[in-house]
């Protein structure tokens, strides 16, 4: 650096330095380059540092002041510009680093494959929920049952033709695999006094198996007993259930039937869910599907359970869960439920 430059020359050299600096910064590609530039101008032996030392060589106060002001100005420009450039270079570097960490977001996630609930239990849960919301409690009884509870106490004596209605598995003369969930009714009545509002879901067994029957299936039994229960109430409760389960618009009809433990007895039909009542293979062209059996509790059953039939009345009903499930999911073969093929089960 020539220390013998005139003050005017010194002043104009500052402009050269500024111009050169601007073009250097422009070309800085990374933080290291920027550091070099910083050293070139403001380092110990930097260009600007050298000019600062020249300040003392100017004697004219006015010239000295002007040079000093300009010197400061250039110094500030350099510092600010470097700071700004540094920021933008850092941003860029972060961006580049993120890009190197990029993943393929379209790869499949690591799933936690939940198991599935058996379709029968899906529907059973739905049925329970509806009745529980109506205030019914849930009760239980043995699957291997005394003949007494399965038949006798339900007004089906030993030599009654009604025994032919159900093919029974016998364990001994006095013990059977329950053919329906109705014995739970009796067991509950023996233990508790009215009012009574219960359902009893569970497995039942019949000694016949073909394309539409399995030796074991599921039923839900229901019982309501109080001082003023009528056939109207039976209709009210069962219509409410059917409308909750199959939808509000589902047609329902009650027609006379026979069960030894209820009188009057009624079968409950719904408008065929497949053909909407027009008639199809499933409903045997009648447009109706049988879904429930029901009736007013036969006073003889009350007497045997120790209830006074003059004081209490009630209704009972029963439904097959397999049938409800088949209707709900349009399943056409009851045997699928017990094959437990995972390709079937995973659909629910």
């Amino acid at each position: 650096m020539d220390e013998r430059l005139s003050p005017d020359q010194l002043l104009s050299s500052l402009s050269q330095i500024e111009t050169e600096f601007r073009s250097d910064v422009e070309g800085a590609a990374d933080l290291a380059g920027l550091q070099q530039i910083k050293t070139k101008y403001t380092g110990k032996k930097g260009l600007l540092t050298a000019r600062m030392k020249a300040l003392s060589s100017i004697t004219d106060p006015a010239q000295k002041k002007e040079f000093g002001r300009r010197l400061n100005e250039v110094k500030n420009i350099i510092e600010e510009t470097i700071k700004g450039k540094e920021l933008s270079l850092r941003e860029g570097e972060k961006e580049r680093r993120l890009l190197t960490e990029k993943i393929d977001v379209t790869l499949p996630g690591k799933t936690t494959p939940f198991g599935r609930q058996h379709p029968i239990n899906n529907i059973l849960a739905e049925i329970k929920e509806i009745f529980v919301s109506m205030g019914f409690g849930i009760e239980d009884g043995p699957e291997v049952e005394l003949d007494h509870y399965n038949f006798e106490a339900l007004n089906i004596p030993k030599d009654h033709p009604a025994r032919d209605m159900q093919d029974t598995f016998y364990v001994s003369d006095e013990v059977v695999l329950r053919t329906h969930t109705s014995p739970v009714q009796v067991r509950v009545m023996e233990k508790r006094q009215p009012p009574l509002k219960i359902i009893a879901p569970g497995k039942v067994y019949r000694c016949d198996a073909d394309v539409s029957h399995t030796a074991m299936f599921h039923q839900v039994e229901g019982l309501m007993v109080d001082t003023d229960i009528s056939f109207s109430d039976l209709k009210g409760v069962l219509e409410l259930f059917i409308h909750s389960f199959f939808g509000k618009e589902t047609p329902v009809r009650f027609r006379p039937s026979y069960f030894p433990f209820t009188e009057p007895s009624a079968e409950v039909d719904i408008g065929c869910v497949f053909c909407k009542g027009k008639g199809c293979r499933v409903c045997k062209t009648t447009g109706w599907l049988e879904v429930l059996g029901s009736g007013l509790v036969n006073p003889r059953v009350f007497e045997m359970a120790g209830y006074d039939p003059d004081k209490y009345s009630g209704f009972a009903f029963g439904m097959g869960v397999e049938r409800m499930t088949m209707l709900k999911y349009a399943i056409d073969d009851i045997r699928l439920f017990y094959e437990n093929d995972v390709r079937f089960l995973r659909q629910f």
């Binding site: 198991g115 598995f169 364990v171 009210g236």
Partner: protein
Amino acid sequence: MKVSFEWLKEFVDVRVSPTEVADRLTMAGLEIEGMEPAGDDIVFEVNVTPNRPDCLSILGVAREVAAAFGMPLKVPDTGIQGDLPASEVTVEILDPALCNRYTGRLIKGVIVGDTPEWMKKRLEICGVRSLNNNIVDITNYVLLELGHPLHAFDTDKLFGSKIRVARAGEGRKITTLDGADRELSPDMLLIWDGKEPVAIAGVMGGEASSVTSETRNIFLESAYFEPTSIRRTSKALGLKTESSYRFERGTDVVFLENALNRAALLMRETGGGKIHEIVDAYPERYVPPAVEAAYDKVNSLLGTSITKEEMRALLGRIGISTEDRGEKLIAFPPSFRRDVRAYYDIVEEVARTYGFGNIDARNPKTELSAGILNRREINIGRIKEAVRRTGFTEVINYSFMNGADLDMLLIPHDNVRRRHVRVMNPLRQEDSLMRTTLVPSLLKNFLYNLSRGTRDIRFFECARVFIDDGGPLPLEELMLGGILFRENLPCLWKEETPSFFVVKGALDSLCGEMKIKGFSYVPSDEVFLHRGKSADVMLGGAKVGFIGELTPGVVEKLDLKVPKPEIVVFELNLERLHAAVPENLTYSPIPKYPAVERDIAVILDESLSSARVMEELKGYRSEYIERVELFDHYKGKNIPQGRKSLGYRITYRCPDRTLTDDEVEKIHTGLVAYILGKTGGELRGV
């Protein structure tokens, strides 16, 4: 029962379509299950419930049609005119309790020949095979038409021209019409001639006295037999006939005379001959019962407000006459409606004729009740849900098994699972026992799915097992069983936990979810499990189940194509799990002061179980140890043969202040020395 629509129309003059008739009958309680065309006729498949034997005939169905449409019933005239010769056959009832009435007619000089075509056709439409024997076919025809079973004897084969009705007594045998020799038990009611039994009353005739092509003189029987007696006899002999089916449900003691006459007239019409005077043994005439029913009671049970007049008219429509007695009515059901005996039978008849559809639906007024969902129901639901969320899919299996299933699992003879309940009449021998364990069914589910290409199988079942404990009914216990098998297939995100620990982890998660405390695992001695890879599941000191890999001896029997398959099964007693679910939860405050964590790795003998080491660690007394967690289990490089390294993370915390480093150091040093001493281990260099 099959009913010809054309035949029906002879009894009631319906003009509407068969479909409409079917609909009305169905809604009146006589369900028409199907309709099939048969030539220019239509056949109804009628489902007659056991309480309505009166509907087991064309006449019976016609009565219902007449009532439903409010039309008159046309019953064929069965009067036999003119002076008839006296009967040469005598009838004596020795057991009036089992035979209330016995009528008969002698028809002499009949020609046994072909059955007329029209009759054959009708029999066939209704599902009865014609024997092309006018006499036998007529008895069947009248049975279908009027619902009363008849029997024709060859009079010349009746010893002494006598009919006696009496029980079999000891040591009797008979050869029935179907050619079978039948041993009779003493209480069975028989028809005898002057010497021998000639028929099993109401069930089947004997061969010796039967009508053949040579028969010229017929004795026709029409009787009332007591239903229970007929049912017992039919059951005991395993002989169910159109006759026994009707007698055991109840026949019409009054109308049986008309059936007798109808058949006699048809016989004369087709085979000629002379009808003799009726013989009628009728020791005690039938008195129709008077059934009382209060109008109010009927209405309150139905939820209706039917007037007195309307109610009596409804009953009148189905042939039940009534008398009004102010608050109540007295009903006199006809002799074919023996099922109407009490006020609730009247309620049913009123409801049926009024129409169930005309009764309004209402919502019952009842009290609210507490505790609707019991704790058991809720807990078991949650337990099943927790298992499902750990990846197991629910199956439902039949409750049956057989002895071979237990043999396959090597179950010893004194094991509790051998105390099974046997079904006397199984559908298949494979299903002759009630399950005492869920494992055989789960294995079948596994095999079924494996053979269909499923490579990752995780199933659970929640069902009862049945243990014969000597009581009248077996012990029924709700079990939770499961099976896991997966082939090691390449997959995107690695999962390297051994199958045993996947299942064990599922059970641990389940206990965590249910807040069940005190769960532990000890080596199991279940014979069907791999001795080194199985555990009994303990809860509060008692065994509640097991978990483990099937032992190679059992796996071999499965004959799988997979080499060395790891099949893990488990079974837990759900009742006991549910009992261990805490009833109430109480919150504990969240710690205010920071914790300090220190790790320790101990090299120790391989045979020392991690549970033992954990127990020892927890045995070290310090109020500041908050948690001990096993985070590493290592064998191999840098660890001597027969030894393993276990790494633990210890969390120290004081509830009311921050622990200093010095304090932690002191306790930790103490703990390290303690555990090394207890286990004989050494610290693994860090």
